[in-house]
């Protein structure tokens, strides 16, 4: 799908001049962007850039200091329970209860999201992420890569229209990371899910994301397709753009 196609669509996420200040630190400074239906937007930046803050504001876990955030046209704070069934989230830094088996964990979340025909859905997702053989194993005994795939099963359980993936391949070996990327892309194309994707792996970002947004010190530094951003920064690849922004972010503003 081209950029002009996305431009005509209703935004799934819309941030307008978003600011977040805590303890005298400005985590986000007038951040604005949109994510359209069926689009994968890479939210990139060095550690502490404000990516997680932005994601948590979108999830309604954090209230902005000023500015506006809309998800499916609604405020994630005021219309929280209208929005939550339509989205899901997975992060390398958030786990599922370790004393429950993989299947028990997915059954728990299937009930929380009121998933119809949960048994079939769980079986299907375990197969897709190639962890069917681990269904009866307790999550605490899974390797970090297996846990990541289980987290992704949870994230796809409610057929979300919006998926927020915070470094989904951070603990995966290259083979599994490739599998996960392919699965995400396949499901995303089939269902037209909008995805906000963060990663520090620039090759992966180029492969997965339709558009990218670089932020540093809470400010937007660059936005566009990977090719457009590389061209603007006159570098050879996205990794060099990342390094330039991380080392001299303030000069680029």
């Amino acid at each position: 799908m081209s950029n002009s196609d996305y431009g005509r669509m209703e935004p799934v996420i819309e941030l307008q001049d978003l600011c977040k200040r805590y303890n005298g630190t400005e985590a986000l400074k007038n951040l604005s962007f949109q994510l359209k239906k069926g689009e994968i937007l890479g939210l990139l930046g060095p550690n502490g850039a404000g990516k997680t803050t932005a994601i948590h504001i979108i999830l309604g876990l954090l209230t902005p200091t000023s500015g506006e955030v809309k998800v499916f046209g609604l405020s994630p704070i005021q219309h929280r329970f209208q929005l939550l069934p339509r989205l899901n989230f997975s992060s390398a830094y958030v786990n599922l209860p370790y004393n429950l088996t993989a299947v028990q964990n997915l059954e728990l979340y299937a009930r929380l999201y009121n998933v119809k025909d949960a048994k079939r859905k769980i079986k299907e997702l375990l197969e897709v992420f190639q962890i069917s053989h681990l269904g009866r194993r307790r999550s605490g005994f899974l390797s970090s890569g297996e846990q990541t795939r289980l987290n992704l099963c949870k994230a796809f359980l409610n057929d979300p229209e919006l998926l927020l993936l915070d470094e989904p391949t951070a603990s995966l070996d290259p083979d599994m990371a490739d599998l996960v990327k392919r699965v995400i892309l396949k499901v995303q194309k089939e269902r037209g899910i909008a995805i906000l994707y963060t990663s520090h792996n620039m090759t992966e970002v180029e492969m997965v994301c339709d558009r990218i947004l670089f932020i540093h010190h809470g400010e937007k530094k660059a936005e566009g397709t990977a090719a457009e951003v590389i061209q603007r920064f006159k570098t050879e690849n996205l990794e060099q753009v990342f390094i330039r922004i991380a080392r001299s972010g303030d000069l680029l503003a």
Binding site: L61, L62, V94, L96, P97, N99, L112
Partner: protein
């Protein structure tokens, strides 16, 4: 099943699953109550040996008081500890971004708590009868209204302390264990309110638990429960539950503003 009931049932099962293949967790249910019962039981036997029969009769209060105190304490713990379990598992964020409402979450914890407390009371009742010939049944029908009031107050404390966990994260854990023990001396658990200094007695009478422990002593002494004490406790419980609900809501909103909610389990 409605979506709401389904979510409550899911969380109830999640907490029951804590006990699958976990010997330490299963032992923990009865370990501390049994230890308390042994200490108080043997103190009671010793006092019976060295004092007059009149004083010996009074000391049966101690076992009843100990069992009642455990009901209150466990009611508070069965709300706060499951919440901490999710923090320890780094699962809180997953729950907070799911369609699970806070009241559904609390209801599931309360249901789990009722099951856990029923097991504890049953074990303590059997042991108290076997070792000290103390029958919890001697309280007759008075037992139920007193237990319900203790549960309500324990839940109010549990909701309040869960709010502290939301507000301060892991750093509030010490308070979770400590707050019931702040209430204990003021509740006149093992002695009548009249023993407290005069200036402390009005504070003691602000706690619903005080009326229940006074009522329990009345039942053991006279065989009847003063209904005024039960209703006073119930009225105060309604106030404390409302205050706990408001404080939780306020702390949740403050945690959301300060970014503490998004750091739960990682601080």
């Amino acid at each position: 099943m409605t979506p709401s009931l389904n979510r409550i049932y899911a969380m109830f099962l999640r907490y029951l699953y804590l006990h699958q293949r976990s010997l330490p967790r299963n032992l923990e249910i009865i370990f501390w109550p049994v230890m308390d019962l042994m200490v108080w039981g043997f103190v009671t036997l010793y006092l019976q040996q060295i004092t007059s029969s009149a004083v010996g009769g009074i000391v049966v209060f101690l076992i009843g008081a100990m069992i009642f105190w455990d009901i209150l304490y466990r009611a508070q713990q069965t709300i706060s500890i499951p919440f901490m379990e999710d923090q320890w598992a780094r699962n809180t964020l997953n729950l907070l971004i799911s369609p699970l409402r806070f009241w559904e979450w609390m209801t599931a914890m309360i249901c789990y708590g009722v099951v856990k407390i029923t097991v504890i009371v049953a074990v303590l009742a059997v042991l108290a009868w076997q070792f000290y010939h103390y029958s919890i049944g001697s309280l007759g029908f008075s037992f139920m209204p007193m237990v319900v009031n203790l549960l309500l107050f324990g839940w109010a404390l549990g909701i309040f302390t869960t709010g502290l966990l939301l507000f301060w994260g892991h750093t509030a854990e010490a308070l979770i264990w400590g707050i019931p023990f702040l209430v204990q001396p003021l509740s006149a658990v093992f002695y009548p309110v009249s023993v407290l200094p005069v200036w402390l007695q009005p504070v003691s009478r602000m706690l619903p638990s005080t009326y229940i422990f006074e009522g329990m002593r009345g039942v053991i002494q006279n065989g009847t429960l003063d209904a005024t004490l039960v209703w006073s406790a119930f009225g105060l419980n309604l106030i404390y539950l409302s205050l706990a609900g408001f404080s939780l809501r306020w702390m949740l909103s403050k945690a959301r503003q300060a970014g503490r909610l998004s750091r739960l389990g990682s601080d």
